[in-house]
Subunit: 354 residues, 2 copies
């Protein structure tokens, strides 16, 4: 009998036993995320979850799939895959949060040419860590070794989140009205969008090394550390106002920036008027704009520019919503309003015009 | 104002508008999969689905994530991405079917260096087609353009399926007993496993061109067409016996073959005894074995060898289960039994030893 390590499959670049070993340490991390609803153990064909439907009139499932984009390349450059798993989970959780849903469970997919045990452990522990922080179970996942498909050190990371919301509490933008106030919540950095451009500007055009600081940066962190700053989860703060009657919509500011994401929750024939001077744009965006020679309109469509989540709130409830957010440690600020007529986002660039 | 086509982001290799155009034709295909439960439209942050819980005592959600592996490379060689989407959906549907669940909805992720509209359309129409066939909605998805991460023409394709089952009807192998009969259902080919090895044998070692026939093959189809044969969904046939009291377990024969997948549903201190001569092994596996010089044990751990799904059935119900499957057009055959003692799979190789 041939041991698989020496067999034909191993010679073709796939080593089932090595994969099993790489994954064996991960089971413990995964089980730590298990919440009450989890009925299956690690390694079953599908993950089993019994949702708590008590108190729900008409339960609606909310699902989203996402990746991390080329932030994965920055992780590879840093030789540190521990943060991208957290990026992924938080991104997915935010994507269903904006429809009023709280996460039940998460599944991940990791693809690589060769699954290195240490990198795998970093990736999955990041995912597991963020799952615990968001109170959602890491119910399952898939790892795929695809020789020749991925370059050495590259890991593709895809996530799926499933959440639940009572139908009457779904946020879909239909309650948004002209004169509603748009509150912005700070991002922690680029989150998971604009990395192809940021890498081009910092590493290719400026020629920065992995550990170097960005010219003109006041932060002591290297360009790579700044770029790896973890995508925030807004669940801890926004979860506290999710059922507030004045909250009419939420928008997660991802690819497409404020420009493309705010209109996704605006009713027809309304537009968002945003005062770009209303919040402090983090220095990293100024440096990207300056070193990349990018105009402000494009910056606002590629990057979040310091706003990772928007709440659209009826004016009557703004004070209360801001109070709750403040008590949750969140620095929210009014950054614009919904206006009658037109479509999309209109920016008041004020003193920030370049 | 800069149009994004000419902007810095486009110069970094990402073209948001071209992505939007590539995706615009896909919306129609996706909407055709929508079932009664779907509450959201294409393009919302998360997909919304209201499950029909009527008649269920304790609804349990069953979720699975999967990819297609390097079968994607074969699709690239053929310049035809229309079948891998079907592979993906059927694979995922089978993975939750084995726990007794029927699919509610599916989400996909497509990653590429550059998203070519024609390839995208083929990929997503394959996914949408199979979703309709399986009666599950294509509720959402994500496409990611990651310049430099993927090679030209390579598309990563990842899927996530969510199904539902009443808790008392979950199949988890706990009812399996010694003397149970193992029925095998035919696969349509390699399904989605063993492609790194198959590609090495046929394209690298034998040097076959994309359109050539495999030496010794009786099929007139090219090696590439044979390798692209679509992974079957067992839902139409197995769905009819899912609640049969004699059905004790199901095993989807994927990566790891019969050797690794059958034991996943066997109770401790039992083993599966499989008669390799009990079914006709499709010629493609014989050709792989012969041209690759692979021993039978390894073949059985890398490939499905012609069995894509196993049913473990109490002897008293075997006749009835076989009848129902036959009426559904399924050619099931007894391929072995569950036996007391030991673990794993023991093969009776009979005349098929090489």
């Amino acid at each position: 009998m041939t041991t698989p390590e020496k067999g034909a499959y191993a010679r073709a670049g796939v080593n089932i036993d090595a994969q099993d070993r790489a994954l064996s340490g991960i089971g413990k991390l995964v089980r730590k995320t298990f919440t009450e609803g989890v009925l299956s153990d690690v390694g079953s064909f599908g993950g089993l979850f019994r949702p708590d439907l008590s108190g729900m009139k008409e339960p609606v499932l909310v699902a989203s799939a996402d990746g991390v984009g080329t932030k994965l390349r920055v992780a590879r450059m840093a030789g540190d895959y521990s943060s991208v798993g957290r990026d992924l989970v938080n991104h997915c959780v935010n994507d269903i949060l904006v429809q009023g849903a709280r996460p039940l469970f998460f599944l991940d997919y990791v693809g690589a040419g060769v699954l290195e045990p240490e990198a795998m452990k970093q990736l999955v522990s990041g995912v597991a860590h963020a799952c615990r922080e968001n109170g959602c179970a890491l119910l399952g996942g898939e790892t795929a070794e695809m020789p020749g498909f991925y370059q050495e050190g590259d890991y593709e990371l895809v996530g799926f989140v499933l959440g639940i919301v009572d139908r009457q509490k779904i946020l879909d933008g239909s309650r948004v009205r002209a004169k509603d106030i748009i509150l912005g919540l700070p991002s922690s950095g680029l989150h998971t969008n604009g990395y192809s451009l940021a890498r081009k500007i910092f590493y290719d055009d400026l020629g920065l090394a992995v550990g170097e600081r960005i010219p003109g940066a006041s932060s002591k962190a290297s360009v790579t550390r700044q770029l790896l700053e973890v995508h925030r989860s807004y669940l801890p703060a926004v979860g506290r106002v999710l059922e507030h009657p004045a909250l009419n919509a939420l928008a997660h500011i991802t690819g497409g920036g404020l420009t493309d994401n705010l209109p996704r929750v605006l009713p027809k024939k309304t537009r968002a008027q945003i005062r770009v001077g209303a919040w402090e744009i983090p220095q990293i965006f100024r440096l990207l704009q300056q070193h990349g020679g990018i105009d402000t309109e494009e910056m606002l469509r590629v990057f979040n520019m310091g706003i990772g989540m928007c709440l659209i709130v009826n004016p009557s409830g703004v004070g209360e919503v801001l109070d709750v957010l403040k008590r949750a440690g969140e620095r929210a600020s009014p950054i614009g309003t919904v206006q009658k007529g037109g479509a999309g986002v209109v920016y008041d660039l004020g003193e920030h015009e370049t």
